[in-house]
């Protein structure tokens, strides 16, 4: 099967998972930063633990690992970009994937958000060559993973992440209980204003 077709299918499934997680709603996403709805933390962190488990298991039975270039490398650009993405999610309500999900649900704000990402992207493409600081100076060896850095088996990293996920999940339940009633309900039509 061609890469395009398999990417289309993975996109279909990913879009469905974002929508069914409720991530098309900027109020659900921002509930995280108001500490009233921990869906974002739970689903994202949980998905990372599940994906890593399945991936490691499948490597164990002999499937091929991803090319090393898929693993991001640490530099100032990743740090600043991550900060801007987090801040932009609160200001604008979405991140790139969730904006598309929101737009698929008919949200005009998501369409505006998604279209405005392009000028933002171009702004950096335009700025980068004239910027005095090189944001891409690597802080760690290229494509470094946590288990390589610490020098342990990936299984231990998985265990640590699963533990952190579980603890965060419980903390989330505690905060959600404190904000009970404020939770953004997604019942037919009710979630959308106007």
């Amino acid at each position: 099967m061609s890469d395009n077709l398999s990417s289309l299918l993975i996109g279909l499934l990913f879009g469905a998972s974002l929508d069914l997680a409720g991530f098309g709603s900027p109020r659900t996403l921002n509930g995280q930063f108001q500490l009233r709805d921990f869906s974002m933390f739970k689903v994202m962190f949980g998905a990372i633990v599940v994906a890593a488990s399945v991936y490691l298991l499948m490597l164990g039975v002999g499937l091929a690992p991803v090319p090393i270039s898929v693993i991001p490398s640490l530099d100032l650009a990743v740090l600043l970009g991550g900060f801007l993405l987090g801040a932009g999610l609160v200001v604008g309500g979405y991140c790139p994937g969730t904006a598309l999900t929101g737009a698929a649900g008919g949200r005009v704000d998501a369409v505006v958000f998604f279209l405005m990402m392009y000028p933002g992207y171009r702004l950096w493409v335009w700025l980068e060559p004239q910027w005095p600081v090189n944001f891409h100076a690597l802080w760690l060896p290229k494509n470094m993973t946590l288990h390589e850095l610490v020098g342990i088996s990936p299984i231990w990293v998985l265990a640590a992440l699963a533990l952190a996920c579980g603890l965060g999940w419980q903390l989330g339940n505690y905060f959600e209980a404190r904000h009970k009633g404020e939770k953004c309900r997604i019942v037919n039509g009710k979630v959308l204003v106007d």
Partner: protein
């Protein structure tokens, strides 16, 4: 089927996480590329005059990795939209246009903020060479140090902005 859903049309977090995690694992094992969304903007940009890809951490979503054939990213983004559209239609909420916003926020304010946030996120995605899907989800599932740090600062950025913009998200 009802068991998997909490109120309305949203999956319980545990099942949503299991579904999303399986899709991420599939993207790693099948196409071996992971999930990329913001990369679609890199396709629209001209290749850089000076290729710093050799020195930089150029991920698939970065302008610096334009050399390779990356049409598949457009297909993935198209698929994402259709997938989300299908489930939102399936869970019996007919398609209708709306501006989702916090309590007491006017539609115009919301759209202006959405535009500003979009600019920030576009800038951030270009800088980082990826977004929440590619670096946050895919990278973290591979235990990349950069991805885990990215998620940390992502939350720091969110809480910092909430200090000023949180009032727009009251329900």
């Amino acid at each position: 089927m009802r068991y998997f859903f909490k109120t309305g049309r949203v999956l319980k977090p545990l099942f949503a996480a299991a579904f999303m995690g399986t899709v991420v694992a599939l993207s790693l094992l099948w196409t071996q590329k992971g999930i990329h969304v913001s990369g679609v903007f890199a396709l629209l940009c001209p290749p850089p005059a000076v290729n710093v890809a050799a020195a930089a951490s150029a991920s698939s979503c970065s302008i610096h990795s334009l050399a390779a054939n990356r049409d598949w990213m457009a297909w993935m983004v198209f698929g994402l939209f259709i997938g989300a559209l299908l489930t939102s239609l399936w869970k019996n909420r007919g398609f209708r246009f709306a501006i989702e916003r916090g309590q007491g926020v006017s539609p115009v304010t919301r759209l202006v903020l959405a535009a500003g946030g979009g600019l920030l996120v576009g800038l951030g995605a270009a800088l980082a060479g990826g977004c929440t899907s590619s670096i946050g989800l895919t990278g973290s599932a591979l235990f990349s140090v950069a991805a885990l740090v990215f998620l940390g600062v992502f939350f720091v950025g969110g809480f910092a902005a909430s200090f000023f913009f949180g009032r727009f998200w009251r329900v």
